[in-house]
Symmetry: C2
């Protein structure tokens, strides 16, 4: 999967880390993941009329994995993937395109078109829904009286004012016809089985692709308070519908792959002393680099021997410049910038979808034996890619067709 392996595998430790990253991306491929999950949990698809819809970066690979189990009774299949996602042809599969990270008209037209194939569903029908990261922007149909630009502007206003994902998700599910459990109302009374790849903190079903099949219980007061806080008295967001339980009775949702699965696979493939810090790391990338130094220094002070470490999650970057780069590439450079002479390390950080921010790279790798100069200068321009590519430090995989947010892996000790 790593396209520029020879350029960046310049030490034994780098080779070991890059080999494990490669091996993990292959083992955790969505096609394998959904197949293994179905077999392991002995999931049956007993219906004469099976419909399939899907949206997100992993939709195509998830479809490839489930296809053999359902083809016999499949009457309709359509997915929405990012415009530059690699796919190949299955005659029966309608592949539609959408935009990511920001939704737009293409996503809306594709969403309407995808749903149009789900006609006259009855209780004997089975609808399979493949959900993965990126689904929030790829799968979107505004509520009546709202247009897609309203949704884009409201989202941007809230994010610029530093809202958290729960506040954003609450408002977006008001503005959308398909989020916050509303898709479930469209599929009723058919049985629904949803397979989900989680790219969000704590694998919260109401947040992944904005929970199209997940009932969200908002208190009206919280909703009004959030609107007022970020949007003043915005007239457009006045509708609120509590969805009846009946729409969720026939809905089963399975998370088939998450950040922790990547970490556990990496951990079990490292035959050295290893520290698995788990998933759900978040916050600003500069803060995390400092936090990571503190954690590793303290661990070393007791272990007193080199150890591998791994953790997962998703940080945020203060975007000030117009360079090419991303949070993962910034993290490794900031880790180097914030390191002391006594610290000996190799650290890699990558997006499991293969795309780190606005750059051709999936992430970056650096080590204390190969110091990099002018880090601050490039960070100030958010140009981490252009510094790393010149220093054997950019990890390039291309789109992986997967997405469980980011993974950090390294080796650490003190002289």
């Amino acid at each position: 999967m790593i396209e520029n392996y020879n350029d960046i595998a310049i030490t034994d430790t780098r080779r070991k880390i890059l080999n494990i990253i490669d091996k993990t991306l292959i083992a955790m491929d969505p096609e394998n993941a959904i197949k293994n999950f179905i077999e392991k949990n002995n999931i049956k698809f007993d219906s004469k009329r099976i419909f399939l819809i899907g949206f997100g970066k992993a939709a195509f690979k998830m479809y490839s994995g489930i296809r053999p189990f359902i083809l016999k009774d499949l009457v309709y299949a359509s997915i929405i993937v990012p415009d530059d996602e690699k796919t190949n042809d299955y005659n029966e599969l309608r592949i539609l395109r959408g935009t990511h990270p920001f939704t737009g008209d293409l996503s809306v037209s594709s969403s309407i078109s995808m749903l149009s194939g789900l006609k006259n569903l009855n209780e004997n029908d089975l609808v399979i829904v493949l959900i993965s990261g990126g689904g929030s922007s790829l799968f979107e149909i505004p509520e009546d009286g709202i247009n897609i630009d309203d949704i884009k502007n409201i989202s941007k206003t809230m994010m610029d004012k530093g809202c958290d994902i729960y506040e954003l998700n609450m408002v977006r599910s008001m503005l959308s016809k398909v989020k916050g459990g509303k898709l479930a109302t469209m599929l009723y009374p058919a049985r629904v089985i949803s397979f989900i790849i989680s790219d969000v903190k704590n694998d919260d079903l109401s947040i992944i692709a904005s929970g199209p099949l997940t009932r969200i219980d908002y208190r009206i007061e919280d909703l009004m308070e959030t609107i007022k806080k970020y949007l003043g008295n915005d007239e457009r967001i006045k509708m609120y519908r509590n969805i009846d339980d009946i729409y969720f009775n026939n809905v089963k949702q399975y998370i088939i792959l998450k950040n922790r699965d990547f970490l556990d696979y990496i951990y079990s493939n490292i035959n050295d002393d290893a520290v698995n810090l788990g998933s759900n790391f978040s916050g600003n990338v500069e803060d995390l680099s400092l936090i990571l130094h503190n954690i590793l220094k303290n661990i070393y002070s007791s272990k007193r021997k080199p150890f591998y470490f791994m953790l997962g999650g998703e940080t945020t970057v203060d975007v000030k410049g117009h360079g090419s780069g991303g949070r993962n590439q910034e993290l490794v450079l900031r880790f180097m910038k914030n390191s002391s002479n006594s610290e000996v390390y190799t650290i890699a950080s990558f997006g499991t979808d293969g795309i780190d921010g606005v750059s051709p790279a999936a992430g970056g790798i650096v080590d204390s034996d190969h110091e990099i100069d002018n880090i601050n200068e490039y960070l100030n321009r958010n140009d981490s890619y252009n510094l790393l590519i010149k220093n054997h430090g950019a990890i390039i995989t291309g789109r992986t067709g997967n997405n469980v947010s980011d993974i950090i892996i390294g080796l650490y000790y003190n002289k």
Copy 2:
């Protein structure tokens, strides 16, 4: 396994942690561990004359697990276990007793007696050696010209002067007829298969029970320097024999269970966000309690949600008083003592052999909702057990017949 469960399971989180500890002690039982290892690795015992010797806290349970695989061709079996270790009767097994943690005459006489059954070994014979923690003191025969009190005094002098385990091990293997690979010379030319449960940092074969079957390459200069550093010009330690490779050609050593296995089992049984800090933690117990606070605070500052944590290893305690307690019980009390009001936690620490220091307990459990007073007073007397037992905090299992050193497990977040 936990005998006083009802007294200490006083919160939901404590119940979850104690249940996992109980489940882990059962799953990791040496009898299961050796059986699973033999089956998983398809190990064959093809010899008409099988001899078995074993020493350490887990020797009896390891024997119970291997017995069905070898009984048919078993011609001799004898083990040495601590004087208060629970065993029951197998007609064919000679159970001998030794002393722990300090060696002595009983260990020496039992070691001579155990080896006496290994007569006229030839290359078609197979000798199985079961090695586990405590073996250093239970299995000991002094070199000619050295008596057991010499070994005890020299060990005590070195430990009191703060030597590390490698220095101690180097000198002890000079003084012993059976350590530092010398047992291998006694078993030659028979084939030897050794099954080992590791209770030491980094699972170093030369250190577990002082490496009876492990060739140790000492540089004479290092040995002389160590003797001079701790023992002046001690005449008794002058012999040094480099053991020829030939004695190790037929020796296979398998580590069947180690600290990390306990942690991995606990990690996979916690269906919440979990941090596995791994094994090999060491150093003074007060230092580790402070280090642990630093690590957990930093992790929380990025995760911002409660998480379980686990780690393993072995700390040291400054023994000043004559109270009843141990390093695990001190750790949880020191963790409480060093916590701030914003920290919400439950923490348990226990010795996997069921014996924490000089006390009836395996370890201790405390939580931030049940503050304990007068901690310093009891710590100054090294009397942690008597404080914990009064505060629903002593974990009592009795000897477990296992030993992979200590495990710490808890839940942590900040208000």
